[in-house]
Amino acid sequence: MKQATQANSGRTMTEELKQTHAIRCRALCKAFGDVEAASGVTLDVAAGRFLALLGPSGCGKTTVLRMIAGFETPDRGEVEIGGRRVGGPDVFVPPEQRRIGMVFQEYALFPHLTVEQNTAFGLNGRAHRSERIHDVLVLVGLEGVKDRMPHELSGGQQQRVALARALAPRPEVILLDEPFSNLDAGLRDRVRQDVRRILRKAGVTAVFVTHDQEEALSLADEIAVMIDGHIMQADRPERLYRRPATHRVATFLGDANFLPGQASNDRVECEVGTLPLMEDAEGEVEIMFRPEDLLLTLDENGPGEIIERTYFGHDQMLSIRMNTGTILKSRLVGCCRGLHEGERVRVRVDTPVMAYPYAYGCPVAQA
């Protein structure tokens, strides 16, 4: 950490970049038999940042995490942690020498050791051992249960023991493999916020793997979307949601409407009118906008009909069938203003939309 701050205060640009990247993956490839789990994964995580590796199950995200940890050796490509090359064609640093902390999906606590002993496990022979244990246990709020065995703890507590154990040796980075999937829904939200707070406080760089886009959007500083062994896009959560780079990323990160359109500079002509574009485009394109961008007005002569309404309380989702047969989704927050199934509506989009090269035969709205 100290080195990093020094670097910040006066080095050339390239050196600084190198120093501030806690993790760098270069074109990582890994195949299991005929299954390519990772094909050319390149990923940078800035020091102190919290990156989510998001993808559907089986997309290879856990494999990438395990290559960073050193539990898998990449077939090709390189891994750097804290500016040190730990994996590559000619180097392999075993996991125990990589200075990483890992939180496993099922926590992998040592069932034969107490909370305190679990936390102390990585601190053998270190100076100020008991202070460190105390500090970490206080940080995660488990000081009071340090003499319990793992099976005597709740799921959320076990999660925090795993975190304490990983943080205790002051690792360069923390890797978390689906850290919240073992918690029931009610607990999950709170534990997520706890973990985020603890990691921030510890000032550590973290990478976590998840298949839950809501989790990724709400927790991470940055999200890398991984599908079929490729990183499709890596960006801040807001940008990723507003400007997904491809059709697939758009559908993976929430509900989306797709329409064919004719683009010209910063405008696009489509079924719902002429819309502003996020980026300039020309010719035939497929446009994407989120359901919350589609505004409705009741109009007996409107071109759309509400065919389905799903009420969630804080908001509602409406399906509108246009006269052309296209089905669009609209998410409305607040009162429903007489928008019932069977009513006719006019539709409008005010916000800029994304445009993709036209690649689909007849794109329709997708959930």
Binding site: F32, G33, V35, A37, T62, T63, R66, A69, G70, F71, E72, P94, P95, E96, Q97, R98, I100, G101, M102, F104, Q105, E106, A108, L109, F110, P111, H112, F121, G122, N124, A162, R165, A166, P169, P171
Partner: protein, 548 residues
Amino acid sequence: MPTNSPGGLTAATPPSTVSRRAQHARGATKRPSLSLRTAAGVVAALMLLPLIYLIIRTVELGPQILEILARPRTIAVFFNSLGLTVAVTASSVLIGVSLAWLTVRTDLPGRHFWGTITCLPLVLPSYVGAFALIAALGPNGMLQRLLAPLGVERLPSIYGFPGAWLALTLFTYPYVQLSVRAGLRGLDPSIEDAARSLGRTSSQVFREIVLPHLRPAIAAGALLVALYTLSDFGAVSLLRFNAFTRAIYVQYTGALDRGAAAVLALLLVVLTFLILLIEYRLRGRARYYRSGTGTSRTRTRTRLGPWRYPAAAFCALISLLALGVPVLVTGYWLLQHEAGGQQWVGSLTIMLNSVTASGLASAACVLAALPIVIHAVRHPGPISRLMERCAYIGHALPGIVVALALVFFGARYAPYLYQTLFMLILAYVILFLPLAVGSIRASLLQISPRIEEAARTLGYTPRRALYSVTLPLLRPGLFTGMALVFLTCMKELPATLILGPTGFHTLATRIWGATEEAFFARAAAPALILVLISAISIWIILEHEEKE
């Protein structure tokens, strides 16, 4: 003592390949360390030693093999064994299925009591059973002594086929009973109800629904019995029926023709493998059939009506023969013994021998099993799978075959080891390694590799992670494995008889020797001790199964 004790087939379930892909995908692909692979390889090679040497020894005989195979003696032995196996299997199935049905599916009075009591003969090693039969019904036995005052001088001979058949049936039918009982309990009662609702009578339901469902369970039990019978040495030798195991022993001790002993042994191995192959195939199917969940409460029971009296009498008769006789006989001969206390003192030194050999063997087994199991579970692949399969070979080899092969090997290549405790322990390890591998494997599978990886991320090398995390967590499995091997070694007969150092008597060899010489009183105390030990080992196995 045949190798296929209940433990041999329950605790030592061969590795499945189901989770291969999953383990693979989740990164068990790290290369095993050279020392681990070497250790596993050495153990695997050691396991193959008897079989390979037996094959070499047989092949050396050249054209003489055919001559030995064509001997009328060989053919007689073959058909003796085959006949005994078929007869014992058939009668065991008959008794086992009836008992299972009576105690699970009828309103038999005291069915819980009978259900438990009829399974108990499982704890009797076959030679103890044979001892009981001979000491009760043999010449100069209990019955004859009791009848002598009435002028009865001779009883029909217990020796030969009838005795062997009776003894083995009485001590193996529980295998069928237990298997069928599980099958009956696994049957979803709603299927029977459905059949009834479609107009079938209860006996039609039994024939059309229950029996087909039970077929795999019956087959599994029957194959266990067949395997047991084929490899049994104790009962067959004491009851002087010339089956394979006895013929091999006679050939060997008589030093008549060691070549013939080798050929017979190999022939026996071939037969055993055939049965194991069938058993292995059927086992997967049996599991498929037993997919029902525990919904046994709503089941209706067949009303026996007046038939319940003969049914209860049948249970009582079987219990009396299989359990009552051994208990009575042991008690009778214990009291009969003139020298009283001295017998117990003698038994103590013998027991010490048993404990020493079994203790060393159980430690050796666990040590040998560890590299095999860790290699197989943590580094799944064709090589580790093959090595693990090798570790299970003792499962398929009758004790007498392993003993014979080691005697041949020792006499030729390692005369300094011949007739030492080392050879005996080696034989035990080869025979009972599957027990240790089975329980340690089950235990290791419970320990997530993530736990070892957690230790790695905290700065532990693979070896240190093994010692500070895996081994402490493995303790229950190590203990179970060790206890199983220990208790099974205590009961082992043929290898102990052949490989034990001169003058080295164990509980098993004492019972066998005393029975053979008709010093029944001398066998009583060791028999009692052994039955207790045997009971403990079966209890451990059942506990172990429950946990799985």
